[in-house]
Symmetry: C2
Subunit: 331 residues, 2 copies
């Protein structure tokens, strides 16, 4: 493993320190390793908080900022943070209008969120929890409990953050963020493994001519190990599966995210996006907005996540609203 | 090689098409594969144009937009575009106040720029060419002709683009961009090679316990093959070399860019940035602004470029000015 780290035990502390030092205009480290907005949002507006393991940079803390997250709770490498820190984050983000707590559907994250919610009830804090679960490979749409949360957390942060900045109530923010969540679908593909930065162990093995479709966020086994295919064939296959899951129809508009996992280049991601865009138009579906780049990574894993979401006028308006965070800025 | 491409001959055409389809709000493909701003800048303002090989995404076309580049001329993979297309780009960017032509110091790029300038003179166009040459490993500061251009092109685009938006004259835009260029220094380190996306050939070989400091943009041999070092030691060594080259003194302010080459994670880049920031403060130098991420990549090469530049009030003001491009937005 050739990674620029120091003592493996210090990875998370040092990455957070470097991240905060590089972005003093937008974020600050505070309390027990919480990443918060440099300038808190106005009183009377709903806060937005998330939690999640480290090792997926820029997610999740890279999206703390105006119009996005108020506080993120970074865990250890690929491990959820404990409920005490989550409670601290919720209190920090609470500006008198309650807090939306966005949780990716992974066992540790959900367990930590449940424990946090028990503490929240004892303290009479106003919190609503939204679990993002959009990986179509891990379970059918009828069974969201078993669907993993992937890069779809980002548009949920964006929609919730924009709605909160508008001054909407907690119930209103929850409802529009939930509508985003219920209309999205993600599928991932991996070609080369990540290595755990602390242990140096690769996450999985794939033959030189193989790829795996439906890989989870941490390299969990997917649904389809298959022969390596070209960019166009892979993109078309994945787009079709996502459209089927969403039951998308001609005339609808979608948000597309091509999310690089790590070592797959932006050059490749553009080539993939090109074919996704073509397939959508062939189906009469409008690729209304797109993001192509690395948002939620898995170390240096080769591959990408393809995300599609059905959008309406309100969701598009919130997606286009200004935000200012280290790794997503809309002006 | 496990890359998501189709026919290797189509890589550049397809990546440009995908890039433009994903970013219709900010850029458009026009003419002979030129990437231009979606909405041209106002009449009477200086245009900013660059050229360069493909394979380094998001550079260079990812920085076309308001407050940055007006037009970029992407070449084939790692190859400069020809002068005819550069001339076309200059004419497209000319809004009646002349054009600044920014060229990274690589043999093919400079040759193409020279031929372009001969054509420019015949057509009586008002063009000034600025060559960026800041790789401290390839030649001493006294010999800029032999210094390679690395990620420093990005701040030069930013400063020139902001000055042009202010309505400054071509000479004024040139002068402030040149001041940026003369006050910057970059050093790169590589740990794992990129592969050429068309041929699959690796760019170089390094032992499992080796790294190379001073690698050029395309894996050209550097000045120092050495045993792999940890993040802190590598960062401190590189920072010291850059400060020595810049003859930086206590009390000065610098812009820092940690530019990931490809497969080195953002997690690692933050850990590196942390130590750079510490070393600067220990020397009494203020890290006034920072960017950490992938701006000018070399496919999936492992490693990064460390950039430092001495800043003054005017340069900082132009750096902070709004811009809106696919891969750099300041709001």
């Amino acid at each position: 493993m050739k990674k620029f780290i120091n003592d493996p035990d210090d990875i998370v502390a040092e990455l957070l320190e470097g991240f905060a030092l590089a972005n003093p205009r937008t974020v600050r480290l505070t309390g027990d390793r919480l990443v918060a907005r440099a300038h808190p949002k106005a009183e009377g507006k709903v806060g937005v908080v998330t939690l999640g393991g480290s090792g997926h940079e820029p997610a999740l803390s890279g999206f703390v900022g105006e119009g996005l997250l108020d506080v993120s709770v970074p865990g250890e490498i690929f491990a959820a943070p404990g409920p005490n820190r989550c409670l601290e984050a919720i209190k920090l983000a609470d500006r008198g209008a309650g807090v939306l707590f966005v949780v990716l559907n992974h066992e540790g994250d959900v367990m930590s969120a449940k424990l946090t919610n028990q503490m929240v009830e004892q303290e009479s804090l106003q919190v609503r929890t939204l679990i993002t679960a959009e990986d179509i490979s891990s379970a059918p749409r009828s069974n969201p409990e078993d669907r993993r949360g992937l890069v779809g957390c980002l548009p949920v942060y964006k929609i919730a953050g924009a709605a909160a900045e508008e001054g909407r109530s907690l119930d209103e923010v929850f409802e529009v963020a939930q509508r985003m969540e219920r209309n999205m679908a993600t599928l991932s593909v991996a070609v080369t493994p990540a290595t755990h930065p602390a242990t140096g162990a690769p996450f999985f093995a794939l033959g030189d001519d193989e790829m795996e479709v439906g890989m989870g966020q941490h390299g969990e086994a997917g649904t389809g190990r298959m022969k390596l295919r070209g960019a166009d064939e892979t993109a078309a296959m994945m787009t079709d599966q996502l459209l089927a899951d969403l039951e998308a129809k001609a005339g609808e508009r979608v948000l597309v995210i091509v999310n690089g996992s790590g070592s797959t280049t932006l050059m490749e991601q553009f080539i993939v996006y090109r074919r996704v865009d073509q397939v959508l138009r062939e189906r009469g579906i409008e690729p209304a907005r797109a993001l192509v780049g690395e948002y939620l990574t898995v170390q240096e894993q080769g591959g990408f996540q393809l995300f599609l979401a059905r959008m309406d006028d309100e969701l598009l308006g919130l997606w286009d609203a200004p935000c200012d965070s280290p790794y997503l800025t809309v002006s």
